[in-house]
């Protein structure tokens, strides 16, 4: 007989999840503390009391009569609607001026789920976090529900007449005193409206402000090309990519396409030549985590690094002789792939870095190959910082009489040095259009509830210029108005609806058969042939450009070497999604923090400052200070602190207010991205941060498996050598009998970037509740598919791996054996079914699940706790679970069933690819494949034939149906051997 496997706990594990695990410190989870509390408070007598009551009450639940329900048919049924079958409508979500095309599922007029539009260039069928979660924002019960003047409810006509009065007064002075403040305007119609208004009132001014802007990118393009331009990246053609602090996988124009193109060249099955990604950045991001070589570097050092690489590529020039091995290796690699490489600069880097990146691409012959240039997508590409600063100055001087703020939340997002809120006091007539009664609304006289983009007619353009018409999925729930209607209120035609405005704009531009073209555009979600023409431009030389444009990075003249950098939050963005429970609860890709932001520090810096995670720090920079908890992040650059803005809202709503701290209070309008001179002092208290990274330790098992490309080519079966799986004959249990279908999933760890879109898509599809910070801290988060994050190597600069973990649908499922009531059983097709109605909540199954993918409803999250408007969000195809019920991934059984019924009606088998699970659909990297193992030619069968395929904890004999393709990284051989990572860190 074979002995049970023993797991030796190595001194320092190769893969690790948290710094504590790396150091071998055992961290007690909150759950066990909770268990201890229970154990203390319960004696034998009490246990019997509970037992007796449970038994007595158990019977009462069964004998119930169905309540009488009504059927309410249409009076006149719309032609397309088949009750019970959803319809999909194409629209797009604009964010910071750029659109992501979407298909939105609608159940008899009720939108329930957002999916990517395969025809749209910025989506290609996938979604990012923000678009996936945007439907939650639609039903947000805290949304503003009425138009107010000084807090009192008013009607829309009252607002119209107030605006008419203000505009008439301004008209006498050709518009002087009238100001409009918008976010980045990407809608061509809105742009045309604003231009027409300014034509009419030439002295009026239009300002733009949002904190996550493209100031640096446009200024950099202007330095290189003489005009602001937007890039169109083609990552699929790039063999070597250098990211200069650019997180172009998680945000920015066309990021979903970049991920798709990148991942397509990372697959170990159907091999293509694998690309190589270098990344220099301070705070580890989604892009850095996918990099083959990542060098932690303070944001201010990136420019010098870029210059060195440029000099090395250009052959000679300053700094080349003293170049670090990393820079040399990067430059060599770039040079070896002329025309097939790509350099990307990050939005938070100063314009000079952008200009160098553009010049590098030019010098390498990449322009026109991997990157091409178009006119900027937003209507007015200007510096938001300058525009906003001018506005605030004018407000202070009293030059602004009427200020119409269309969207955005400037009172919250304004950098702390500007004093926008105070200046707003001096404006006589102020109006704010927004989804919530937020920080700005409370300071403005007028507040107009905004229509959500799913309630609006509008238009927007993708990163490559492709235009889309936004069509409403539902009439405004609270009578919200669009930006088009508010701008129209300032004109002579105030009553025009956004439908008329948008249609009129396109009437002249679609040409020919307008009605046909309009319908086609609404159906497809894109306007054909509207992509921008590529421009032929040449970047000027970068040498001698130093100091031509003032660097936006501002040195605050502090006494320390510490540097501060500000970034938009990975999940709540600039704060606009703060009241979105899905985004709040989604663990952030690298830190795995939820419901909070923190000051991110490198382990070495924390040691130097004698700071531990959760210590509250007092940060002083540029004369202002905030208090915030610290969080130590492996791989963060030393002597640098990263703060995410978007938290610390005071008027966000029930969920978003009083979470985290406000980083914008510390920001400076002269240096939005931050700078040096940060002072850190300990405030002498701690603040509990909640992370999901400590839940479930690895115990020395080969959970995530990775190798280099070289190792993989030598031993393609490396994943199996890391841990042996027993054969089917070694199991006590009978082999699972094959059926007509055998559903299975394969997840490519090489493609996964860890963005978390799968988690949100699953949450939306399967009616998964959010539970709040306290419950997450107890390990009660409900996500059916979580993304685990593992580090490998040193804490200073580890490699990062992400592993999405849904239910494994084990053929020998340990959970099924322990359920006393048969609430979890196997289906004939290999699904591990969960029968909610049988479940009595013993939680034995969760205890016996080695993957910890089962989640328990401790409270009425999904039912009674859900406000009425949120009930409209529920997917009617999936049961809403009651309290006390176990739940877990079903492989989207509702989608399987629909596909099966469709196929059976046609007397055929379900075709490969016909069933797309929610997580699979959302994934921009196409890392998840789902299908039928009984079909030997299916994609999932092929994936499982890959030598890199392995099952999680397969050695337990569970025979999981979900398997993984091990990660294979493609490091530069000349770098890996010399171990230059540490060398580089010391010299730079």
């Amino acid at each position: 007989m074979k002995s049970l496997p023993v797991y030796p706990q190595p001194q320092r594990p190769r893969f690790w999840r948290s710094l504590e695990e790396l150091e071998g410190i055992e961290r007690r989870e909150e759950t066990s503390q909770e268990a201890l509390a229970w154990a203390k408070g319960m004696d034998r007598r009490e246990l019997f009391k509970f037992g007796g009551v449970s038994l007595a009450l158990a019977g009462l639940t069964a004998c119930t009569r169905q309540p009488t329900e009504k059927i309410i048919p249409y009076v006149r049924q719309p032609e397309e609607i088949k009750p019970g079958t959803p319809l999909f409508f194409a629209t797009a979500m604009p964010l910071s001026g750029y659109a992501t095309g979407l298909l939105v599922e609608s159940h008899m007029g009720r939108p329930t789920k957002v999916e990517g539009n395969p025809l749209h260039p910025a989506s290609l069928g996938a979604t990012d976090l923000f678009s996936q979660a945007s439907i939650y924002g639609l039903y947000d019960p805290d949304r503003s529900q009425s138009l107010t003047y000084l807090g009192e409810i008013r009607a829309w006509p009252a607002f119209l007449s107030a605006m008419r009065l203000a505009v008439e007064k301004a008209r006498e002075k050709k518009g002087a005193g009238l100001r409009i403040l918008t976010e980045t305007v990407g809608s061509p119609t809105l742009g045309a409206q604003l231009r027409a208004l300014l034509m009419e009132l030439p002295e009026a001014k239009w300002h733009q402000w949002e904190p996550a802007n493209r100031d640096n990118a446009w200024a950099g393009a202007a330095m290189a090309f003489g005009q602001p331009l937007d890039p169109v990246l083609d990552v699929s053609k790039a063999d070597v990519i250098l990211s200069l602090d650019a997180d172009f996988f998680s945000c920015g124009p066309g990021h979903l396409k970049s991920v798709a193109d990148f991942a397509a060249r990372r697959r170990t099955r159907n091999r293509t030549a694998m690309n190589r990604l270098y990344c220099v950045e301070a705070a580890p991001g989604v892009t850095g985590a996918s990099a083959d070589h990542r060098l932690p570097m303070r944001a201010s050092q990136v420019e010098a690094f870029a210059r060195t690489v440029a000099a090395l590529v250009g052959g000679g020039g300053g700094g080349a002789s003293s170049a670090s091995p990393f820079a040399q290796a990067v430059a060599e690699d770039l040079k070896a792939h002329r025309g097939k490489s790509l350099v990307v600069a990050g939005d938070y880097q100063p314009p000079a870095v952008h200009a160098i990146a553009h010049a590098l691409n030019d010098a390498l012959g990449n322009t026109g190959q991997t990157v091409s240039w178009i006119e900027p997508i937003p209507v007015k590409p200007e510096s938001h910082a300058d525009s906003f600063r001018r506005l605030v100055a004018d407000m202070e001087s009293g030059a602004v009489e009427t200020l119409v703020i269309v969207g955005g939340n400037p009172a919250f997002t304004a950098p702390g040095d500007l004093g926008f809120a105070k200046a707003l006091d001096k404006v006589k007539v102020s109006a704010h259009l927004s989804l919530h009664q937020d920080e700005t609304s409370t300071l403005c006289r007028w507040h107009v509830p905004e229509a959500h983009y799913l309630e609006s007619w509008s238009d927007a353009r993708a990163f490559d210029g492709t235009a889309s018409i936004l069509q409403p999925l539902i009439a405004p729930l609270y009578g919200g108005k669009t930006a088009h209607e508010v701008i129209a209120a300032l004109t002579s035609q105030p009553e025009r609806t956004s439908y008329e405005i948008v249609r009129d704009y396109w009437k002249d531009r679609m040409g020919g058969d307008f009605e046909g073209a309009w319908r086609r555009a609404l159906h497809d979600g894109v306007i054909e042939g509207s992509a921008s023409a590529r421009k032929t431009v040449r970047a000027g030389s970068t040498t001698g450009r130093e100091g031509q444009a003032p660097p936006l990075r501002h040195e605050a003249g502090g006494r320390t070497d510490l540097e501060i950098q500000f970034r938009a939050d990975p999940t709540v963005y600039d704060g606009r999604f703060a009241n979105n429970g899905w985004l709040q609860e989604l663990p952030k890709a690298v830190t795995k923090l939820t419901w909070d932001n923190a000051v991110l520090l490198a382990p070495a810096t924390a040691k130097k400052l004698n700071v531990a995670s959760e210590d509250v720090l007092r940060l002083t920079w540029d004369g202002r200070s905030v208090e915030a908890p610290a969080w130590i992040v492996p791989g963060h650059a030393e002597d640098s602190a990263t703060l995410h803005f978007g938290y610390g809202r005071t008027h966000a709503g029930t969920l978003g207010s009083k979470t985290g701290f406000s980083a914008s209070a510390l920001q400076s309008s002269k240096a939005l991205a931050g700078g040096s001179g940060l002072e850190i002092a300990k405030a002498g208290r701690t603040y509990a941060l909640v992370t999901t990274q400590h839940h479930q330790n690895m115990e020395g098992r080969a959970i995530v498996r990775a190798a280099t490309l070289e190792e993989f080519e030598k031993t393609p079966e490396f994943a199996h050598e890391m841990e042996e799986a027993p054969g089917p004959e070694e199991s006590m249990y009978a082999h699972y009998p094959p059926h007509e279908y055998a559903w299975a999933m394969a997840i490519d760890l090489n493609a996964c970037t860890g963005c978390g879109a799968c988690t949100l898509a699953c949450q939306a599809e399967n009616n998964i509740p959010t539970v709040g910070k306290k419950e997450v801290s107890r390990g009660h988060a409900m996500h059916w598919i979580r993304v685990d994050r593992y580090f490998e190597g040193s804490e200073a600069n580890p490699a990062t791996y992400h592993q999405p973990v849904p239910c494994m649908h084990c053929e020998n499922a340990p959970c099924e054996l322990v359920c006393p009531v048969g609430a979890t059983v196997h289906s004939a097709e290999g699904l591990n079914d969960m029968v909610y109605n049988r479940c009595v909540g013993t939680r034995y199954c969760a205890n016996n699940c080695p993957y910890k993918v089962r989640h328990f409803n401790y409270f009425h999250y999904g039912t009674q706790f859900r406000p009425p408007s949120m009930r409209m969000l529920a997917n009617p195809e999936v049961t809403v679970r009651w309290r006390g019920v176990m739940e877990k991934c079903t492989y989207c059984v509702q989608r399987i069933t629909v596909a099966k019924i469709g196929a059976e009606k046609e007397n055929r088998r379900v075709r490969d690819g016909e069933i797309v699970t929610a997580c699979q659909q959302a994934c921009p990297a196409k890392a998840i494949v789902f299908g039928d193992l009984a079909d030997a030619s299916s994609e999932v069968s092929n994936a499982r034939k890959s030598p890199a395929n392995y099952g999680l904890l397969e050695d337990l004999g569970t025979r999981p149906r979900t398997t993984y393709l091990a990660a294979v990284r493609n490091p530069n051989p000349s770098l890996e051997k010399t171990g230059v990572w540490d060398v580089e860190r010391k010299t730079s």
Binding site: T64, T68, P73, R76, G84, A828, N837, T879, E904, N907
Partner: protein
């Protein structure tokens, strides 16, 4: 020493011990019977409706096809309840003055839906799909009974899981030719064995194996 308990206590204790078993059995029996009784299931209870609509008249006497009103029964999960417009297709021309039809006319006039009481109401965790049943040779009558003889609609079957499984385990006992799905009062040809006849249809229509039809996720999600 005198006995504490009288001799008769023995009998009483014996009787109560055995009696308890019977009592418990009785209680269980009542409970299960009640569970499956029309009291709980509302089987055979004609339900009040806003209009005294008679299936017996429309489907039986006039012979209107089921699908004239229940339009999506072959296409989607939900058979479809006709919009007021469907009623008005005929009743804009006949029975114009009938007071019984005033709610229909009112609904059409005011654009407010009629509110019907649901007769066949499965629990919300059951995802029944009409289309697949109708397409695989399960007749309307099999579950809904002789609708053509019901003046007011009632639920003909128990509609509990045990009842569903009777057919999911042995579809050959209930299946009929697809052409006869909408026929009321259909009977298998005389002289053939019902199960043998059904088995042939089960094969012909490619019904799933018993294991699949019995799997929880076939109906529950």
């Amino acid at each position: 020493m005198a006995q504490i308990f009288h001799r008769s206590t023995n009998t009483i204790s014996r009787a109560s011990i055995f009696g308890a078993v019977f009592l418990l059995g009785l209680a269980l029996w009542i409970f299960y019977d009640l569970e499956a009784s029309p009291y709980t299931t509302q089987q055979n209870v004609a339900r009040e409706q806003p209009i005294q609509f008679s299936h017996a008249h429309h489907a039986g006497a006039i012979g209107i096809d089921c699908r004239y009103c229940h339009t999506t029964v072959e296409k989607t999960a939900f058979a479809g309840i006709p919009p007021t417009k469907t009623c008005m297709n005929c009743h804009a021309q006949i029975w114009l003055q009938s007071p019984y039809l005033e709610p229909v006319r009112e609904s059409y006039r005011t654009d407010k839906s009629l509110e019907w009481t649901r007769v066949h109401d499965l629990p919300d965790f059951v995802y029944f799909d009409h289309s697949i049943h109708v397409n695989k040779g399960i007749g309307c009558e099999t579950c809904h009974g002789r609708v053509d003889q019901m003046p007011l609609m009632w639920q003909a079957a128990r509609l509990q899981m045990g009842w569903c499984l009777e057919c999911h385990r042995n579809p050959q006992k209930f299946i009929r030719p697809k052409e006869e799905v909408f026929t009321m009062g259909w009977a298998p040809p005389a002289g053939v064995d019902r199960e043998e006849y059904g088995m042939k249809l089960v094969k012909q229509y490619g019904l799933r194996s018993r294991a699949v039809l019995e799997s929880c996720s076939t109906c529950h999600r």
